[in-house]
Symmetry: C2
Subunit: 233 residues, 2 copies
């Protein structure tokens, strides 16, 4: 299994996927065709437009990108994909469609069998055990919150530190994750924007220049440094 699990597709002051390009050139070095799954996007743009955006973002890598919606048989398209990229948007919308089209298992199998995977934001959330640590609004009702389970923890993408000066009474991200852990014994990795996890079979490293915040049930949250190996056993 080879995967890049990124907190965000885009960092401030840079274009779509730009900060990931050197990594992606290596990650996708042995493939020609990348299958793009545009299902998370609800924001007024079509699957065609979103796929066009992915194509443009990945252009410097010189790969062919096709959207899953272009295929008659999406199961077959995933099963035979050389490489897979699941883009961001709304995690509820993405998970609903993957379940309803029966694609969760075939996606897991394809990645397990070695198709290099790229996830950004919602596409990273689904790599964990469940989508229950998403920041997204429940704009649709998925048949289940279970996701790929290719990691034995959950991701919180776009992890944000509490604003200590804020007078706002809505819960902080850390409070929300602790509420989740009051009811679910699942480790959560808070990935700051600009960070990604590099998954190489069972070895998982935190990449780029940011620490990540780790929430283990029943423990105080702590930071891990860039280049740390994640190992919770």
């Amino acid at each position: 299994m080879q995967a890049i699990i990124a907190s965000t597709s885009t960092i401030h002051g840079s274009s779509y996927l730009e900060y990931l390009l050197p990594t992606l050139e290596t990650h996708f070095a042995d493939v020609e065709d990348i299958l793009f799954i545009p299902f998370a996007r609800s924001g007024g743009i079509t699957h065609d437009d979103y796929t066009e955006k992915a194509k443009k973002g990945l252009k410097p890598c010189g790969k062919n990108v096709r959207g899953l919606h272009e295929f008659k048989d999406p199961k077959k398209a995933i099963a035979s994909a050389e490489a897979i990229f699941v883009g961001g948007g709304n995690t509820f919308l993405l998970v609903k469609q993957l379940h309803e089209l029966g694609l969760m298992d075939v996606l897991r199998t394809a990645i397990d069998a070695g198709a290099p995977y790229l996830g950004t934001s919602a596409g990273s959330n689904i790599f964990g055990l469940t989508m229950q640590t998403t920041n997204d609004m429940p704009i649709v009702y998925p048949p289940s919150f279970k996701t790929l389970g290719l990691l034995d923890f959950n991701i919180n993408a776009h992890y944000k530190d509490p604003d200590l000066k804020s007078t706002h009474k809505g819960e902080t991200r850390e409070t929300r994750i602790k509420e989740f852990q009051n009811l679910n014994s699942v480790i959560v990795v808070g990935l700051r924007e600009g960070s990604w996890l590099k998954v190489s079979d069972s070895k998982i490293t935190l990449e780029n220049n940011f620490s990540a915040r780790i929430f283990e049930p029943g423990q105080l949250a702590y930071e891990i440094d860039p280049n740390a190996i994640l190992n919770f056993n």
Copy 2:
């Protein structure tokens, strides 16, 4: 129907429910007993502790407060309640329990029949058509996102304006609400902290000193002034 639908239980620099007390003295003037529903709270405190907090907050009104968890028959307790207060916490957790215990209909009926209602945060979200515009994390899986439907729109509690200086790439609240409306033709009222809706039968007014942000599907979002009457027909 008489209801106070508040964005938050607590405003900065003030104690639990304090800013609402003058309003609640009038709202609950004709009742002696208030039934408190503590089900939204996941954060390490028990239903007893949360009910104690509600009791303390409402003490200046001189009412008796009992938690729904203290009753053997919660349906009967709701049906015979003089007044009802549903506190904040996690909306997924609240909605899951109300559905699973079969309490959504009996709650709607009691409020419809005239029991004065107070909702704060999650307790306000459930007054709308669905819980789909909550800001909360999906820490549990409810059997449905449908809620009381005593308003013909949805609430977004703790409404927060975009931080124009932010470099964070997570979606703004406004973006999330628009994503919801790409898929659901439902009006959303963004209630800023410190605001509440006063519902008096079919008349709904925005109370206190803040404007509210109104999202009608297919239109630009707009503001309504304090004391405005909400009328979307």
